[in-house]
Structure formats: C-alpha cells, structure tokens
C-alpha cells in the first residue's frame, strides 16, 4: 500500500502482469502466446511470473512467426478461449495483419454473429533507440478497421484497467503500449478495476486550448502544459485511452469550451489519429483553431540525434499551442 489510500505503486510492466494474472486466475480460458513470454517473462518482463503460476500449457513461448501466432490466437478465441498474443513491436504487427484484419475483424460480421474472436493482441509502439523498423506507431491503420477495438494506455493504472477490459471484450482488441512507458511506475487501484473501453479522460483541466493525445505522448503534453502554465496559458489535456471506438464527445466538450485544439501523436500525421480527431471534433462543435503535432515525415532512426529530431517533443507542442492561440 502506498501513500495514496487504496492504491499501490506498480511499474508499468507490473500493472500489465497483474491484469493478465487476475484474468488468468479467474478464467481458465485466458492463455498467453508470444515470443519469450514464458520463463523469460516477456521483453519488458510484462508477463513475469505467469509461467510459474499457470504453467507451460497456458503461457506458451512461440516461434518467431507473427502471422501464425495471431492466426492461432484467433482460432482459439473463436473456439471459446481468450488468448493474449504478444507481438513484441508494433512494426511486426504488419506480419499479422492478414489474420487480424481479413479474418478476426470481420468474423462476426461475415458469419452473421456465429463466430467471434475475443482475443487481445498486445504490442509495443514507439521509439527508444531501436531504429527504423522497430519504432513505428501504426494505431491509425487499426482505427480504420471496422470490427477492431484499439486501446492505448498512458500510465500503469490504465495499462491494468484497459488490459482487464480488453480480456473481457467480446471481440478482437489491439492493446498498444509504448517502449518509453515501461521504465515508469504509477499508482494503481488496489481493488480490481476496469478502465471502460471507449472512454477518454481529462488528465489536466484547462481553459485556453485542448490537447488530445494518447499513450506516451500524454506525458509530453503534460510537460508542455506545465511550461505553458508559467506563461499563463492553460491547457486541457485529454488522454484518448481508447482509439477505436473514439470517444469524440469528451474531446468535443472540451474543444467547445476552449475553442482551440492541438492533436499530438508520436506516429505519422498523414491519415493519422490527429487528422481523425480534428475532423470529428469540428464536425461536432464547428470550426476551431487547430494544429497537429506528430513525427517528422520520415523513418525514425536509432541515431539519438535523428530520433530526437524526428519525434514530437514539448518544444513542438508549445509552438503548436502558441500557433493556434496566436
């Protein structure tokens, strides 16, 4: 128990492990498939302890075969199980898109409800010195796929609560975390909690501008808001948390008050999360001053100088805020 009553401090990875552990303990149909998820405990130790507790039949190390891994998860899910398939980095999810998008996302529709695939693809997006093919953020691709739910926690509590909800959802869910979130810890409710799918949350109330973002970028937004506050600029920060279905109402309510919107994502801007959020928010409240912040239109190098140059940071968010408020 930590200072805050009713919460415990957990590392991001521990929050994920706890959610999976609770669900596996409560539901024997929950299984884990992934590379090095067994005794090794996952690339970020986010599955540590599950293998010892639940055994090799329910926590399975797979070969490096992302396409079949997801196909197996779907087949097992459609047969009554609730697998989590771990795809280490989101870049490798490209190898799994055929089963995920051509089969799982459409199974319920194409069978008239006879088949559903309640499973979770857990994958890690974002850059952390890993280079052009290990740093991508592809959430926007998945948001446009009818039938998929996409969640993206920005902290330990939601990593726990969203994984819990994902494992109870009656269809395919892609759980997108972020490399730079793993070193962090946060307060997580001591009692069992579910973060509702489809609900964004206001992380910081403000008056002058709304910043809509998700995942690790919520922190970048918070830093930006701190600095801007010193100059009397008040930012309202919305953590989308679920990208599909998108909780546009929460964004729209905020934008209706502030009259200005900055979207922030680590991925590419073109056909990205921000483009969608900006369009739908204005559909709801009418034209507002708006700006998008995202990565430069280029691959993200492992080179520290180039990675830093490519990724959005507080300085760029602050610039964008000043631009829309100018």
């Amino acid at each position: 128990m930590s200072s805050e009553a009713g919460t415990i401090k957990l590392f991001f990875r521990e929050a994920i492990a706890r959610a999976v552990r609770e669900e596996m303990a409560g539901d024997s149909r929950v299984i884990v498939l992934g590379q090095d998820v067994g005794a090794f405990g996952g690339s970020y130790k986010e599955f540590l302890g599950l293998y010892d507790q639940f055994g090799a039949a329910r926590v399975r190390d797979t070969p490096v075969a992302e396409a079949a891994m997801v196909g197996l998860g779907i087949g097992a899910a459609a047969s009554g199980y609730r697998p989590i398939v771990s795809i280490t980095y989101m870049d490798f999810l490209m190898l799994s898109l055929d089963p995920l998008v051509n089969y799982a996302a459409k199974a319920r529709f194409k069978t008239g409800g006879q088949i559903t695939a309640p499973f979770v693809v857990k994958t890690t997006a974002g850059a952390k010195g890993q280079g052009v093919a290990h740093s991508q953020c592809l959430e926007a691709w998945l948001m446009g796929v009818p039938g998929l739910v996409v969640v993206a926690p920005s902290n330990a509590a939601d990593a726990y609560g969203l994984m819990k909800s994902a494992l109870r959802h009656d269809g395919p869910v892609v759980f997108v975390d972020h490399k730079r979130l793993f070193p962090s810890a946060g307060e997580v409710p001591a009692a069992e909690t579910f973060t509702p799918i489809g609900q964004a949350v206001v992380r910081r109330p403000g008056e002058h501008v709304t910043i809509a973002t998700h995942g690790y970028m919520v922190r970048t937004a918070m830093q930006s808001a701190e600095r801007l506050a010193r100059d009397g600029v008040s930012c309202e920060i919305i953590d989308l948390r679920t990208l599909a279905p998108l909780d546009i109402d929460t964004v729209a309510r905020s934008v209706a008050r502030t009259g200005a919107l900055v979207t922030l994502e680590e991925g590419q801007l073109t056909c990205g999360v921000g483009a969608e959020v900006a369009f739908r928010a204005q559909e709801a409240v009418g034209p507002v001053r708006v700006a998008r912040v995202g990565a430069l239109p280029a691959p993200v190098s492992s080179n520290p100088v180039l990675e830093a140059a490519a990724l959005p940071d507080a300085a760029r968010v602050i610039q964008a805020v000043r631009r829309v408020l100018a």
């Binding site: 075969a65 079949a68 196909g71 087949g75 459609a78 199980y81 319920r108 008239g112």
Partner: protein
C-alpha cells in the same frame, strides 16, 4: 459411412453445383466438382465435435460436413435464410455449431486459424480434432510452414488436407510448387504425411481415419495430400485455360462415376439404385434452390449489424 451414403454425398455436391449454376446473376461461384471425394472422404472420418475449415472452394466441404443444402444454397445466393443471413456468401460459408468452422477465401488464410481451433481442442482434451482443407496453390504460402512447425511442436490435433487439383487459377502446380509431392512438405517437421488419389473416396477416407487415430491420441498433426481434379474453370467468372483434350482427360477421373461403377461391380448397387439416388438427390437440390429462391435478401440495415 455406408457406401450408398458416401455416393449420395458426392452426388449431392455435383448436382448442387449444377443447380447453383442456374443462378448466375447473383455473382460468380467456386465449384468443388471433381474434388467431391476429398471432402466426402475426409468428412466420413470426422465426428460431430470435430471442426472442418476450408478454402474459398467450400461447397464440397460444407455439404460433405452435413450442412443442410437449403442453408448452403441460401447463403451462396445471399439470402437471409443462410446461416450468416446472406452476409458471408461465397467463400465465407460457416456453420460452426455443426462442425463446419468455415471457409476463408484468402489463400492459406485458414491454416493458422485451424491450428488455433486445434489448440482449443487440445486444451479442452475431449479427443476432438480439426481438419483444414486447402489447395495446392496455398501450399506455397508461408502460413503453411509457420503452422506446420507450431502444430508439430505443440502436437496439435490438426489434420492438414491439401486438395491438390493441380492448378492455382491458371498456374500448374509444377510451376508453383517445387516439391515432388506436396506431402513432402510435412517431412522436415516430423509430421506424418501421405499422398492419395483424391478421386478415390475410399482411399481418402481410409487415410483420414488412419491419421485421425493418432491425431486424436495426441500424437500431433498429420498431412494428407489428395490429388483431385477441377472440373470447371477456377471460378464461374474465370476463363478456362485447359484445352478440350486436356479437359476430356480431367473429366475421365470422375470420383462419382468411379465409385458408382465400383459399387455396381460388387453388386452393392444396381442401375435402379443409381437412378433412385439420382432422383433423391435431384429432389433435395431442387428443394434447396426453391428454399433459397423463396428467402428474401437482407435488409440494407443489416450492413451495420454484427460489426463489433
């Protein structure tokens, strides 16, 4: 399965497709004619609790698995009386509650899904197995390699059935697959495999039963190659590339005529019997068509149902 039922099951597929062919306006179809013995022989060895998956060429597998021809016809013609209310249609037939997990028209796309269903069967440990029928063309896809490896490692109760009709659209199997026999693909993984005449329904059934014993026993997957024929062009929308001479040879290998002749040779069946079976089958098919014709198309609002 008794011989007459086997013959009838094959004949049903053939006549069903002939009947379906009288409704070209709904759109193209992929026929199983020429490969009836593959689906019927495999299904003869399956039990109610088992699951069958197939490629988009799924009329044979669906009917052989015992799905009501009326429902299959309705689904293929996009009518609400189909199991998917006409939303799936050709290439997506499914009736999992009756052991037909379903078709999937992405080539090789059902192979890893089938392994997942087999994983579920393994975890349930009720002696259930899963069979997946795919084509020779699908055998060049990476999904087969990844799935064979995992199924072998985990000893999944999975029977992989390659319905080798010698063609992928227009591409001859020899031009698309390097192995001498497609069943050789299983060898590196220590997966038992066999190649049989896919126009010989008894051979297919016998080999499936042999493999089914070890698959159910938990000894892991097996691979069955069946050399069948494709009596029509790839789909009713695809031009035929084989010469008349070639086609005559192809049609020679009719699994139904072959089996009927055999049954008559051993006096299990006489000309009258054949006539009776044909008449019964025609009646079933006619009823299926009438049933489908009578069923309405879905309401446009259905386009947004069962999405998430």
């Amino acid at each position: 399965m008794d011989p007459l039922a086997t013959l009838k099951s094959m004949l049903l597929i053939r006549r069903f497709e002939a009947a379906l062919n009288t409704r070209p306006d709904h759109g193209f179809q992929l026929y199983s004619s020429g490969a009836e013995a593959v689906a019927v022989g495999v299904c003869a060895a399956l039990r109610p609790g088992d699951q069958l998956l197939s490629s988009g060429r799924s009329i044979g597998p669906a009917l052989a698995r015992g799905i009501d021809p009326r429902l299959v016809m309705a689904e293929l013609l996009g009518k609400t009386a189909g199991p998917a209310r006409g939303k799936g249609g050709r290439g997506h037939l499914a009736k999992p509650d009756q052991g037909f997990f379903g078709a999937h028209p992405v080539v090789a796309g059902n192979i890893s899904i089938a392994a997942g269903a087999a994983l579920a069967a393994q975890l349930e440990a009720k002696g259930r197995m899963v069979a997946c029928i795919f084509g020779d063309g699908a055998s060049g896809a990476g999904a087969l390699h990844e799935t064979l490896n995992i199924a072998a490692l985990w000893r999944l109760p999975l029977l992989l059935v390659c319905d080798n009709n010698g063609l992928s659209v227009s591409t001859p199997r020899e031009a698309a697959l390097a192995p001498a026999r497609l069943s050789d693909l299983a060898a590196p993984f220590g997966v038992p495999a066999a190649s049989v005449d896919g126009t010989d329904v008894e051979a297919v059934q016998r080999q499936t039963e042999t493999f089914a014993v070890r698959v159910r026993a938990g000894d892991g997957p097996a691979f069955l190659e069946c050399r069948s024929e494709r009596f029509f062009s790839h789909s009713t929308a695809t031009r035929e590339t084989r010469s008349g001479a070639v086609m005559r040879g192809v049609l020679e290998r009719c699994p139904i005529r072959k089996y009927a002749a055999k049954l008559q040779a051993v006096d299990t069946l006489d000309a009258a019997g054949v006539a009776r079976i044909e008449a019964e089958t025609e009646a079933v098919v006619a009823e299926a068509l009438a049933f489908a014709d009578a069923s309405p198309y879905p309401d446009p609002a259905e386009a947004l149902r069962d999405v998430v």
